[in-house]
Structures are given as structure tokens and as C-alpha cells.
Point group: C2
DNA sequence: TGGTACGTGTACCATATGGTACGGTTAGTC
DNA sequence: GACTAACCGTACCATATGGTACACGTACCA
């Protein structure tokens, strides 16, 4: 009998967890069923069995990473107040591997590889609306909130890339604080509307 | 006889060009010697011959992409004046594939894969100094120039990622312009020194 | 007790990969 | 013309991969 819909089970969760752990350390790009299985002392046959195929596992891993990222970057953390603590939250050392994997999947999705459908929409568009709302609440001109939300996401991801590359927590924190100070100037000035 | 140092030649350039073209379209992560060779009607044996190994070719491709990126982002384009035209230059449609490949190698390097040594230093640290100089010339406070340079690079790359993901040229352009307007406010206000 | 569905391991297959052995071709040089 | 070295193609090899066939065990239920 062919398994079309994979059921959830404890064993499946264990396999998925191992796959994510493996991806966090070694990347997802050359994800190998045998390596993952070996890391928890089972056979790659199990991964095929529980996820249908390699791509099935890849989809599950992508979804899981996406879920963790969204869980971590709750809208609460997007408030523009207390920038230092917010950046510390975003850039916490224990989350480096997760962030790196996130960007890896991001690029993966840019290349249109199977298993990443919908990832980019969630990663970009899915964040603009909530950030925009937070900005408006913080007193930002509505006409500029959309652009500033986009800008804020870009700054966050750009600086996270910088941090991943250099490990310079002080420099990136300083840059992030500068950005928030710039934002504070917005409420005191008109930016002109394009 | 073993070729330790590969000489430059017309044939080698042709192979490298084909490899870069292939990477621009299909990515560099699962770079296949056979596919590249096939795309110009030769055998993968030639790539091994001219580049020593798969990794040798990968190094050459990375270097070439790095060179193109630096050639394109000359410091001239980093001036903060005429933001609209600068962004149009950065985000020119014909350069999307190149930018995507750049990010791909960036992630590649974050995972510490062979062939990407030195790439991150060039991609981040190598740009901060020139941008910083441009900012100082433009009248930015010296104490803030370093952080703003870092911020500017982050904004540029973050928005390029956004653009690659969404294709929304209008939205990203608007966000970029907002950023330059924020910068203009800097020269009129103290930012506080951390 | 017999049967059925699920879960797991072993062995295997077809394929694709990087790399090598070897032979052939061309161009330059004595 | 003969030798040499660079250049290139064909055939091959060892390996790793995703996927499949099949056998075995367990749990549940009639």
C-alpha cells in the first residue's frame, strides 16, 4: 500500500528533529538522508518511510524552520522602543545557526527549488503588515509606514547577515541603534511623499 | 606530468565563463562539472584539466563573481546624492541573477565551505571603509560614519534580498529613498554617541 | 488463533558524480 | 621528419545518493 498522507507520530517527530539539527549544523543544501539517519542511529529507509521522499523531508524541515523563525520573531519583539534589548533578542548567539539556516533556505527559495514554495512570501510580505502596524502605533506617519516597515525588515536582515559574517556584535548593535535613532527623527519631520 | 599551477588560456576563460553562466542560472551549490561541460559541448574532463578539480573551478567561479560585484559596485555608486539613480543602478534587472548568485555564495561562505575563503571579509569589511569615507565627505559626523556605513550596507543588501524575493521594484525603491531621507536628517541633528 | 496494518532493518538497484587512465591530435622546435 | 608538450575526448572506476523489494516483528482485533 502506498502512503500518500504521512501520519504524525513520535518517531516522525524524532526524525524531523534530527533533520533540523543536522541542517542547522551542516546546511540544508546537500541534505543527505543517510547522514541524517546515521546521526540518530537509524537507516535512511525510515526517512523515506515517514516523509515519502527526500523532498517530503525537505518540505517538513523548511516548514519547521519557518515556524521557529516566526515563533521567535513575534510581533512583540518588533516594537521600536528599547532598541538595544530588541536587537539583543534578535541577535542572540544561540540563534545564529537558525538564522543562518533561514538565509540558506531563503536563497534556496530564490532559486525556485522544490520544497520552498511559499517561503519567500511568508519571509517578506508576511512580515510587512505587522511591522507596519507597530510603526503606526508608534506614531509614524501612515503614508510612510509601509516603506519604513520594508526598510526595517531590510535593516534587520542586512545587519543579521553582517553579524553572521563578522561576528561583530558591538558594531552591528551600534548600527541598529543608529537606525532606531533615525526613526525617532521621523516623527519630528515630514519625509515627503513619493 | 601533474599540473600544479593552472595556466591562463583562452580555453580556460571560455570554460570559466560557461561555469559562471551556469551558476547564474542554476546556482552554484550543486555545481556539476558534467552539466557545465555539456552546456558548451565539451567533456567534464576539460574542467578537471584546466582547474585541477571541482573545488578549483569553484574557487575560480567565486573569485569571478566577487570581481564582477566589486566592478559593478564601484565606490562612485556609493555616493549618497541622487539616491534614486543609485538604487536603479544597484537594482538593475539585468543584475538580478548576479546578485542572487552573490547571496548564494555568501551563504555558502557562512557555512564555511571550501572555495569561499576570504569571501565574507571582502563582502563586508572590505566595503565599510570606502562607504565610510563617502559618508564623511558628504558631511556625516565622523563618530557616526562607521555605524552608518554598516547600516547603509545592511540596508542595501536587505532591500536587494527583498527585491529578489518580491520583484517589487517600486516598493523597494521607495524604502531606499526613505533611508536616504533619514540620512539627510542626520546632518541636522546629533545622534548621540554610544 | 489468524489476520491485518504499522514500523523497522537489510540488501539491493539505477543513477549521477568527481576523478583517472590512456590514447589521439595539434603545434612548435631541433 | 622526429620529438615534445600542451590539449582534448572516450572509457572507465569507486563512491554516494535516493528509492525499492522484501522479510521480520509487534500490536491490535475479530
Amino acid at each position: 500500500m502506498v502512503r500518500l498522507v504521512v501520519a504524525s507520530s513520535q518517531a516522525r517527530d524524532r526524525l524531523l528533529h534530527a533533520a533540523v539539527e543536522h541542517a542547522l549544523e551542516h546546511g540544508i543544501l546537500d541534505l543527505s538522508l543517510r547522514e541524517i539517519a546515521e546521526s540518530i542511529g537509524t537507516s535512511h529507509r525510515m526517512l523515506i518511510y515517514h516523509f515519502g521522499s527526500r523532498e517530503g523531508l525537505l518540505v517538513a524541515v523548511v516548514r519547521e524552520v519557518d515556524r521557529r523563525e516566526r515563533e521567535r520573531l513575534g510581533t512583540a519583539s518588533l516594537s521600536i522602543v528599547d532598541a538595544r534589548r530588541r536587537w539583543d533578542h534578535l541577535a542572540h548567539p544561540s540563534l545564529r545557526a537558525q538564522e543562518r539556516l533561514f538565509f540558506e533556505i531563503y536563497v534556496h527559495a530564490l532559486l525556485g527549488r522544490p520544497g520552498t514554495e511559499g517561503f519567500l512570501d511568508e519571509a517578506v510580505e508576511g512580515w510587512i503588515a505587522p511591522v507596519r502596524a507597530v510603526l503606526v502605533d508608534a506614531g509614524i506617519d501612515e503614508d510612510n509606514a509601509e516603506g519604513l516597515a520594508r526598510l526595517g525588515l531590510a535593516v534587520t536582515r542586512g545587519l543579521l547577515l553582517d553579524l553572521l559574517a563578522t561576528g561583530d556584535i558591538a558594531g552591528t548593535t551600534r548600527a541598529f541603534e543608529l537606525f532606531t535613532q533615525l526613526l525617532e527623527l521621523v516623527s519630528e519631520h515630514d519625509l515627503g511623499h513619493v
